[in-house]
Symmetry: C2
Subunit: 381 residues, 2 copies
């Protein structure tokens, strides 16, 4: 396989972008990434998006974005794996370059969620329609069950869940692209409006519009471009049952574990070699489970590990320096690439007040639904 690198990134601010359409925000992020990379063309495009059909009645957005960006007739395709559509777009762009077919590929993600669609119904299409959604459950309820089980089995506390949100909002307060760049306290999280017991609205990532893009190149081309080169060391993806009730243990996100093991193996590194990670904290409990699956802490110990500050900017393994989905926002299809934007900025040392010290190897973990799909990438400067 040929080696592949990231040489440029860009993203929109995340939030309620009512004055901009789906295509506007994608093109804004794409132009920023192209500018950042300093390239004058691209050869192919992958657009991660979960459900533009249900959100704004528009499918076929690979071709749409290529046209609106002014790069048609290049090949362009949409990639979907629910909330890890962005991470999957990166992975498939990586394959295209690794194969030798192309040298310069744009990978992006976009979602426009605030334009009036039934957001809860649209998001629930990532769960099992026949065996979960039809019977009335949606994602807050699914993650609340995971949280309850984790509390029961491992003694995880309500306060430990809240510590995830407090840490991520602190980090996000330094991120100019974040939807909610402000701090929250443990008490505020616990006493916020209950969404699905034990999760409150401040345990939950918001509904957002946004887009993010990255430019991938073959390592040979990267070396010629005289830009900081972020190498993709490893790519792993995995699947699990969609329906929570069919899994052996609902506190285990097996696809996350499998995707991470695959990425570590390809990269030839251990979890302890990772300098920092961007992970899929769609709900506070998700981050606690994920840091366990990634091998940063033993199974069941994610709660105390977080509460003690080990995942803070100055901690043993900083997690979600960007503010994560919680503070930065979660336009579902864009999230996986927004994680890459943060990893690249951190590795370049450009992250300002949220800069992780000695950032050499960054990990991005992006997840679909209640964990039925996951993709993990490892990057090195």
């Amino acid at each position: 396989m040929r080696e592949v690198a990231v040489i440029g990134c860009g993203m929109t601010k995340f939030g309620e972008l009512w004055k901009k359409s789906l295509r506007d925000i994608f093109v804004e992020a794409a132009l920023k990434a192209i500018d950042d990379a300093g390239v004058d063309h691209i050869e192919s495009m992958y657009v991660g998006s979960m459900t533009p059909g249900l959100f704004v009645g528009q499918e076929h957005i690979g071709a749409l974005m290529a046209d609106y960006l002014g790069v048609a007739p290049i090949p362009a395709v949409r990639v979907e794996s629910a909330c890890c559509s962005g991470g999957m777009a990166l992975r498939l762009g990586f394959f295209e370059i690794a194969s030798g077919y192309s040298d310069l590929v744009l990978v992006g993600g976009v979602e426009k969620m605030t334009d009036g669609a039934d957001v809860t119904y649209a998001l629930a299409s990532a769960a099992d329609q026949d065996y979960e959604v039809y019977h009335g459950i949606t994602f807050p309820g699914l993650y609340a069950m995971i949280a309850k089980a984790h509390m029961h089995h491992y003694g995880t506390t309500r306060k430990q869940l809240a510590a995830v949100s407090v840490k991520n909002h602190y980090n996000g307060s330094f991120n100019p692209n974040a939807q909610f760049p402000k701090e929250v306290t443990i008490d505020q999280v616990i006493n916020a409006t209950l969404v699905a017991d034990p999760l409150t609205v401040l345990d939950s990532s918001p509904v957002s519009d946004g887009a993010a893009c990255a430019i991938l190149v073959s390592m040979d081309l990267a070396k010629k471009l005289n830009k900081p080169v972020i190498k993709i060391l490893g790519s792993g993806a995995a699947t699990d049952a969609l329906a929570l009730h069919t899994r052996e243990d609902i506190t285990t996100l097996k696809a996350v574990k499998d995707s991470a093991e695959s990425a570590y193996k390809m990269a030839g590194i251990k979890p302890s070699d990772v300098s920092f990670a961007e992970v899929h904290d769609c709900f506070s409990i998700a981050e606690i489970c994920i840091i366990e699956e990634l091998g940063f802490v033993k199974k069941g110990q994610g709660g105390p590990f977080t509460e003690k500050g080990n995942t803070s900017l100055e901690g043993k393994i900083p997690v979600n320096p960007s503010g994560g989905l919680k503070s930065k926002g979660h336009p579902v299809g864009a999230t996986g690439i927004a994680q890459v934007v943060e990893v690249v900025e951190q590795l370049k040392g450009n992250a300002g007040k949220r800069q992780v010290k000695n950032a050499k190897i960054g990990l991005a973990q992006n997840m679909g639904g209640s964990g039925a799909s996951s993709v993990t990438h490892i990057f090195q400067i």
Copy 2:
């Protein structure tokens, strides 16, 4: 790049499959393909599907199908490019093997269109929502405008359009998987219910359920499996403006031309080297334009060329021996892979009464929307 081959295929019957769900039909096709290939595992999956969200409220179908097929935790992702989602799934599976990352990949396509959704709205999401659909036009109207322009510029006749449907229904009458395996006459096509002038319901592909799958392997692995090996000689994809009114000439399907040129170049062949082709005849006029763009006949001459029988089973260049979208059915996401199923069966000499003589090189051309995306593959036995 590593060489890639197809070693097995399978598909469901196309039609109104009311007793089977989205996941049932995909798994049926996948198991047939796995059986046909004689393999005992797969490493990764690509599922082409246009809009399962709008049709049946279910996204995240990469993971869903991996789980239901019993192959989780392998990586699985959905690929979307409107009606060429299937062809794009093939292309991305091809890249994964060509890169050296995997040796054995299932590529498939599926759509469940007859379960009660607003099919016209769902399909229209492949056109430009803001600049076309919002103003009231849907696909029959768009293709009717292409037909009118082609008739005006090139003298194409109503009878020549009908000749496409007559030929495809004749071929489809020999295809046990076809939704409408019966012959029609020129008079029946012309006098059928008008959908959008000049196109009648018998110029139009039907609304269908169905799935199709193929097993791709590296050439090294193919040689060990002691099975007929169909080599993928070339893969080309391209995009064009979604909105018809922004194209320079609406009788030219530029993405089809570009994707074909790219595939011919990679394969190192000319149009005259192709033994037969499966092409995207979503409406009769589409096949006429496509055979022009593929270089089988000069621009503007597709009508007379078809009327004279050059694209029939015994003609100069047989087109749509399977019956095409018109007779076989058009479950949109499945169509691109169903084309591959036909190409493989023809190259193996297994096509029975619809067998093309001396079939050595087959071409499959799959298109999205009114031609904003196209993917072309060339295969050789």
